[in-house]
């Protein structure tokens, strides 16, 4: 099992990410300048994004039993790198405003993205664990990054302890499954699971514990309690990063793991996932109803969105992977946009997360308000936005698999969801209460927001090209 030259080409995107992280470290060692480290990181990401096209012809390729690089993995790696680029643009503006040094943020971000990439392309328990921990440990640092402020510290500690606990649950589950099957490769597990004779008393609890680990990372219903505190505490760009890259990578892994092993078709697991989906949809929407903190509202709404995503995941027809893929893209664009606005509007001291900061925003800064309204409508699933097409495909996937109860709950809860999105929109369009001008927005942040809004409207009106791309995502 030696690593051939094609393997390296196939692994190119991951290698470039790692190289960039080291390059940024060297950069920081040479001269500590915010702009320099940001641009090195950005360049690295661009090259890694480019390298995906170089690696593409090599697909699909099992590189060592740990990683499998197929069209599915490369699509999500591309998604992760693009959102990391957007993160850099937002983070640069955000951290420029606060005084202390912030070059290490980009190193942590690159490591986290690398972890995500490993997660996405893993086909083995070990690589799953490695990717997950790379991502998590990097996130501990990012969340608690602004040391002087109390809230990030509190968020960091909470995230660290709970992530570690859930990692332990995950590991124990993996151990049980490994104990039952004697193999840690997804395809071999799949083979053994399809034969009825496996040892139920080990495998099912193992799967349950694995679901607990995944559930924490994806902030699904019973394991979602930490989300609002960490999202509110962490600096806005980091929250954006956590909500998108960490959850996105995890869900891609969940999809690959369960679709390959067919685990979720087992009757008990199907019920577990349905219960989690329903609980997430209800909890996410209900908890956000009368919230006054915009970041907490967006945190709860992301819980609800993951609940919607599970509905498509449960459908597991031929339409499901496409629906999940498209919805993840729309979720990425919208969440990055929404938190981007929060990041753009916060000044050095405190994030602009209270609803009053947004009262009468439209009359002070119409363009920013318009972008934020577009993002909110996309979250609510209103036409002309990518969120609408995403939700449309979710319901289509659910309907095609005949999961009527889940679909109806999705409809009802997203009806409840409308209320709190509209609360923010109402605040934005109410009369201007104070004349505070708000911070000036840097060029990179403006570029990021324009890119996101363009993507939101373009994919909302012409989803066809992206759909064709996703349709080709066959598992390796």
């Amino acid at each position: 099992m030696n690593v051939t030259e094609q393997d390296f080409i196939a692994l190119l995107p991951l290698l470039i990410l790692a190289a960039t992280a080291i390059a940024v470290m060297l950069g920081v060692a040479v001269r500590r300048s915010h702009a320099l480290s940001a641009s090195i990181a950005f360049a690295g990401l661009v090259i890694s994004f480019g390298s995906i096209w170089i690696a593409a012809p090599e697909l699909p390729r099992q590189v060592t039993p740990l990683l499998i690089l197929d069209r599915y993995a490369l699509f999500y790696i591309a998604l992760l790198t693009v959102s990391s680029m957007v993160f850099i643009l937002l983070a640069h503006g955000y951290f420029e405003k606060s005084d202390d040094d912030h070059d290490e943020m980009y190193i942590l971000m690159l490591v986290a993205t690398l972890g995500g990439a490993v997660l996405v392309s893993s086909s083995h328990f070990a690589s799953l664990f490695l990717g997950l921990e790379l991502l998590s440990v990097a996130l501990y640092g990012m969340i608690a990054y602004p040391r002087r402020r109390p809230l990030p510290l509190e968020a960091g500690i909470k995230y660290l302890v709970l992530a570690a606990v859930s990692a332990a649950f995950l590991l124990f589950g993996m151990a049980l499954v490994y104990g039952a099957f004697g193999t840690m490769r997804f395809d071999e597990i799949a083979a053994q699971l399809s034969r009825p004779g496996f040892d139920r008393w080990l495998v099912l609890p193992g799967m349950a514990l694995i679901i607990t680990g995944f559930g924490f990372k994806l902030a699904l219903a019973p394991f979602h309690i930490w989300t609002p505190d960490v999202y509110e505490g962490a600096p806005a760009p980091v929250t954006a990063y956590v909500a998108t890259v960490s959850k996105g990578a995890m869900f891609a892994l969940l999809l690959r793991y369960f679709y390959k092993t067919g685990g979720h078709q087992q009757a008990p697991l199907f019920v577990v996932f349905s219960v989690i989906a329903i609980a997430s949809m209800f909890a996410g929407n209900i908890l956000a109803l009368l919230q006054d903190n915009v970041k907490r509202i967006l945190a709860y709404s992301s819980i609800a969105h993951l609940g919607y995503l599970l509905v498509a995941f449960q459908a597991s027809g031929d339409l499901a992977p496409m629906a999940v893929g498209f919805y993840l893209v729309s979720y990425f664009v919208t969440t990055l946009g929404a938190f981007g606005i929060v990041a753009v509007l916060s000044d050095g001291g405190r994030d602009a997360d209270l609803l009053d900061d947004y009262r009468g925003l439209f009359w002070r800064r119409p363009v920013v308000a318009a972008v934020f309204t577009a993002m909110l409508f996309s979250l609510a699933g209103i036409p002309v936005t990518v969120g609408f097409v995403g939700k449309f495909y979710l319901v289509a996937a659910g309907a095609s698999a005949g999961l009527w109860s889940l679909v109806v709950i999705l409809v009802v809860t997203s009806g409840i969801g409308l209320f709190y999105y509209l609360r923010i929109v109402v605040a934005i369009y109410s009369e201007a209460s104070q004349a505070k001008a708000g911070p000036v927005i840097g060029a990179p942040a403006v570029a990021a927001l324009i890119f996101l809004t363009a993507a939101l409207v373009y994919l909302g009106l012409f989803p066809q090209p992206l759909l064709a791309l996703i349709r080709g995502l066959t598992f390796g």
Binding site: P383, V384, A396, A399, G415, F419, R423, V426, L467
Partner: protein
């Protein structure tokens, strides 16, 4: 091509109006007026050019690829029914722009942007023949109307706007589920994904599935056409909306619900609709009586007019589900005439509120002495809404009652009593607002020439529809026969 212009002109004009508003408010208003008038002329040209016999089902079509993979096409088409409603849309659009010429002072550009985009959304709803595009336009017309109410509304506007948004959006989602269920049933039957109205027409499905899908569609349209239980958003939305908003809300948005039933519920699910018809008829009659009773009890002028809409649309619902030629023609006639008469009433109430800054009838009285022309017009349209023969509403209501009588005597009798109830609220409205002693000795200016012109146009329209409704009836004739033949057992 003309169909695409009908939608694109308001969209572009909206952006233009918003941009121009920064420099000159008048220019912004003129752009909006010109855009809507252009659309009205286009619609009239379309009406003039088509021969009433009409060859195929559609008078004009425009069809492009959109999402071929899912069988979704950008397919616009117009037939007798949608043409009539399009003309009503742009007719009321022009009048609402004229009526709110002086009323809107802050953020005029954004106001006209929203106004034009609502009209584009409504035009899209009437033109869309692809179910996905229909749903797209259905949701699209909702957002600008929400902004119209939330920003330029009156005291309790936020509550009303949010309530309106959630009611319509939630029911819209139910319709989305029904659309998808229909598409997948069609797919499992024919193996191809298609959202085309033509393809989906004959899909075979089990009666239980058909009933559920029909209910999905029916609930969405019943919320929009306020059927009795789902109507509670209407009074709030109408009371709080600015004049132009109320006119478009009452005149057009309610009609999209009725249009949806005629276009989608009856043809797509004939058997389920037939079994559901008695329930729908009872809902209709209950709506007539309940709306009239509540209208009679209101003290806020706009709420009174809003509840009258519930009552009139009860006739439309009844007419649609009676499903014979008389009732269908009556339903369409009522839709159009109700749009004009209630639109006019809202313009008048808006004008009155601009002058005396209140809508409470207890604070009014004796306004006829200071503003005779305004009160005269209000009397005229109150009479139109109580179904005075010689005006449009009577023709519609009489046809619906005549058709309903052939279906069941009890329902026709109850609906006739509803017409009697209409007299209560109409005369209540005139008596308490305009007649009686001028206790608060109002000294208000009468209608300005602009408002006078709007009123005159609407009076002539109602008189013309009342005395010579045949052009409207003939335009709807071919569509009506097609819908009527779809009824099972005919």
């Amino acid at each position: 091509m003309i169909l695409l212009c009908l939608i694109v002109i308001p969209l572009i004009a909206g952006g233009l109006a918003w941009a121009v508003a920064r420099w000159s408010v008048a220019a912004c208003r003129w752009i909006t007026l010109l855009a809507v008038t252009a659309d009205l002329i286009l619609a009239l040209v379309l009406w003039g050019s088509h021969s009433p016999a009409g060859s195929g089902t559609w008078l004009a079509e425009a069809d492009w690829e959109w999402i071929p993979q899912a069988g979704i096409r950008f397919h616009l088409a117009v037939d007798g029914l949608s043409l009539l409603l399009l003309m009503l849309t742009f007719f009321l659009g022009v009048l609402s722009v004229l009526a709110s010429w002086r009323e809107i002072t802050e953020a005029v550009g954004f106001f006209h942007f929203n106004l034009l985009w609502i009209l584009a959304g409504i035009a899209g709803v009437f033109l869309a023949v692809d179910l996905f595009l229909f749903y797209f336009a259905w949701e699209l017309m909702l957002v600008p109307m929400y902004f119209l109410i939330a920003i330029w509304g009156h005291e309790n506007r936020v509550y009303a706007a949010v309530k309106f948004f959630i009611f319509t959006q939630l029911s819209g989602l139910l319709m989305l589920v029904a659309i998808l269920a229909l598409v997948f049933t069609h797919h499992s039957a024919t193996g191809a994904y298609s959202f085309e109205y033509g393809d989906l027409l004959g899909t075979a499905m089990s009666s239980v599935a058909e009933m559920w899908m029909m209910l999905g569609f029916f609930v969405a349209f019943a919320v929009k056409l306020p059927a009795i239980v789902l109507h509670t958003w209407l009074p709030d939305a109408h009371t709080e909306a600015p004049t132009a908003g109320s006119v478009i809300l009452a005149g057009l948005l309610l009609k999209t619900g009725a249009y949806g039933m005629l276009r989608f519920v009856l043809p797509l699910f004939p058997h389920a609709s037939a079994t559901f018809a008695p329930v729908a008829m009872i809902l209709g009659v209950a709506g007539i009586l309940y709306g009239a009773l509540l209208a009679f009890g209101q003290t806020d002028l706009k709420r009174l007019v809003a509840y009258t809409s519930v009552s009139h649309l009860g006739f439309v619902l009844l007419g649609i589900f009676v499903w014979n030629p008389l009732a269908l023609q009556g339903a369409v006639m009522t839709m159009i005439c109700h749009g004009i008469s209630t639109g006019a009433l809202f313009i008048l109430v808006g004008a009155l509120q601009d002058r005396i800054h209140t809508r409470e009838m207890d604070r009014m009285g004796g306004i006829w002495s200071t503003a005779p022309r305004l009160s005269g017009a209000a009397l005229f349209f109150a009479l139109a809404s109580l179904g005075l023969p010689g005006l449009g509403d009577f023709v519609g209501e009489f046809l619906v009652l005549l058709g309903a009588y052939q279906q069941s005597i009890v329902i026709a009798a109850l609906a006739a009593i509803g017409v009697l109830f209409a007299t209560f609220y109409a005369l209540q409205f005139v008596q308490r607002a305009f007649q009686g002693p001028n206790t608060f000795n109002w000294r208000i200016p009468d209608l300005v020439p602009r408002e006078g012109l709007v009123m005159a146009v609407m009076i002539i329209a109602l008189l013309w529809l009342g005395l010579y409704p045949r052009p409207v009836l003939n335009t709807f004739e071919p569509v009506m026969t097609r819908i009527e033949q779809m009824a099972p057992g005919r």
